[in-house]
Each structure stands twice: as C-alpha cells, then as structure tokens.
C-alpha cells in the first residue's frame, strides 16, 4: 500500500511536471517543472527495483543534462520579448491533444491486452550496478561501443557548430 501511495504521488507529480513543461510560456519555468518530472520518474524507477537507473536518472538526467539546459537558457539571457509570440497557444495544445488522442487510445488498448503483473520490489541484487554492468559489458558490448562512438561524434559536432562562430563573423 505504501508503494501504491508512493506511485500515485510520483505519477501525479510527473504528469503535472510534464503538463507544466507544455504549458509554461518561459522555457525556464518549463525546465523547472520538467526537473520535477524527471525526479519523480527517478522515484518510479526505484519502485520498479531499477537501482542503477534510479541513480543515473538523478545524476545524469536531472543533474547533468537538465543543468546544461538550464545553464544554456540562462546563458542566453532570454527576455520575455525574445520569446515567440504564440497566439492561441491553448487552442494549439487542444488541437494537438485531439490529434494525439487516438495514439494514446491505441496504446492503452495494447496495454490492456497485456497480462497484469505485480511490481513488488525485488531483492537478489536485481538492477544493481554489478549485474547491469556485467550485462552491459557482455551481451551489449557492441551497442555500447556504438553509443560511445555516437557520443564522440556528437561531441565533435557540437564543437564544430560552436567553431562556426568565427567563420560567420568574417
């Protein structure tokens, strides 16, 4: 029961955070509410016995990536007049919801066909660093390496884009 309560709490927070992201006009507000979503998601991961992911979600996502985003938003020093004028934003969101509704309905239908299962916390080190790490470096080694290359490429891409500054100024 306690777990269900926690789940409800995190779930509501996550949805509210996501709704905030979509609705807030200023990206800083959005980012802050998105952080709430990320943190509550971390909690949900913990409820699902994913210990390592729980930690990574907090450290990498909520910590590193979101800090980067927030940092950039602040770095750009965005004034409200710089923001796009989104007339009828709510109408847009309403329309988007109507478009998306069938997708959600379809996905829900699929989920309904799946057998339900309990989500009790698992012991025996499920989702711990060691088993996940073993799995990562044994079965998933090649994808892991490819991802590392991807990271490298994006790093260089970011550098290149930043380096373009000089050419433009010429």
């Amino acid at each position: 029961m306690f777990a269900d309560g926690l789940f409800m709490l995190f779930a509501v927070l996550a949805v509210l955070g996501a709704a905030g992201l979509v609705l807030f006009r200023h990206p800083m507000n959005g980012a802050m509410s998105f952080v709430i979503t990320l943190i509550s998601l971390a909690g949900l991961y913990a409820l699902l016995s994913a210990k390592l992911i729980f930690a990574l979600q907090l450290i990498v996502y909520a910590g590193a990536i979101m800090s980067l985003i927030v940092f950039i938003i602040m770095f750009l020093n965005i004034q409200p007049e710089d923001l796009p004028k989104e007339e009828g934003k709510l109408l847009n969101i309403l329309g988007a919801l109507i478009i998306v509704a069938p997708i959600g309905y379809f996905l829900v239908k699929i989920v309904n066909r799946l057998p339900n299962a309990t989500t009790e916390l698992l012991g025996n080190n499920f989702g711990g660093v060691k088993p996940v790490g073993l799995l990562l470096f044994k079965d998933w080694l090649v994808p892991f390496e490819i991802v590392s290359i991807l990271l490298l490429v994006s790093l260089m891409g970011a550098l290149l884009l930043a380096g373009k500054k000089k050419e433009v100024s010429k």
Binding site: A14, A18, L21, A50, L114
Partner: protein, 98 residues
C-alpha cells in the same frame, strides 16, 4: 499493477508529442522530446521488471546516452540560432519550404 506504469508512460509520451507539435519555443520543443524519451525509458524499466530481466535497464542507459548526445548538439544549434536570428522560434527554420 504494471499497467499503471504503462498508462503513465503513455500519458507522458502523449504530453511530449503535444509539446512538440503545439509549441514554437525551441527549448520547450527540445525538452518535450526529452520527455518522450523518458516515457520510453519508463516503459523499458517497467517491462524489465515484468520479465525480471535487466536488458531494459541497459537500453534505458543507452537512451540516456543518446539523450545526452542530442542535448549537446541541440543546444549548440539553439545557441547558433539565437546568435543569428536572436529568436527562439522554430518557425525561423523554414529552409525546407518547397
């Protein structure tokens, strides 16, 4: 029980889609994409729990890595965009117009 997690994942995903297609602020769009990635992660972890297999965890880590890479690039692009146009509007990118 696991259904609840999946429903939540669906709701977050749909909100992410709504964010992408209804907002014009680049940061919001970008973070909506992150939201969708996270909803996928949630589904991964949930299924991982159902099957008691940790492959989903590994995949979630991969997604995070991709998200990090994406963040690095996307933010660089945003900075450039702001430099050139002083705008944060996705409608500024209209080079694809036929």
């Amino acid at each position: 029980m696991i259904h609840s997690y999946l429903y939540l994942s669906i709701i977050l995903f749909c909100l992410g889609v709504v964010g992408v297609i209804s907002r014009r602020n680049v940061f919001t769009v970008f973070m909506s994409i992150e939201l969708m990635l996270n909803s996928a992660n949630l589904a991964f972890i949930a299924f991982s729990r159902v099957h008691e297999s940790m492959d989903g965890h590994v995949l979630a880590m991969m997604v995070m890595a991709v998200a990090a890479a994406e963040a690095a690039l996307a933010l660089a692009v945003v900075i450039l965009l702001h430099k050139h146009k002083s705008k944060l509007d996705t409608n500024v990118f209209s080079l694809l117009k036929g």
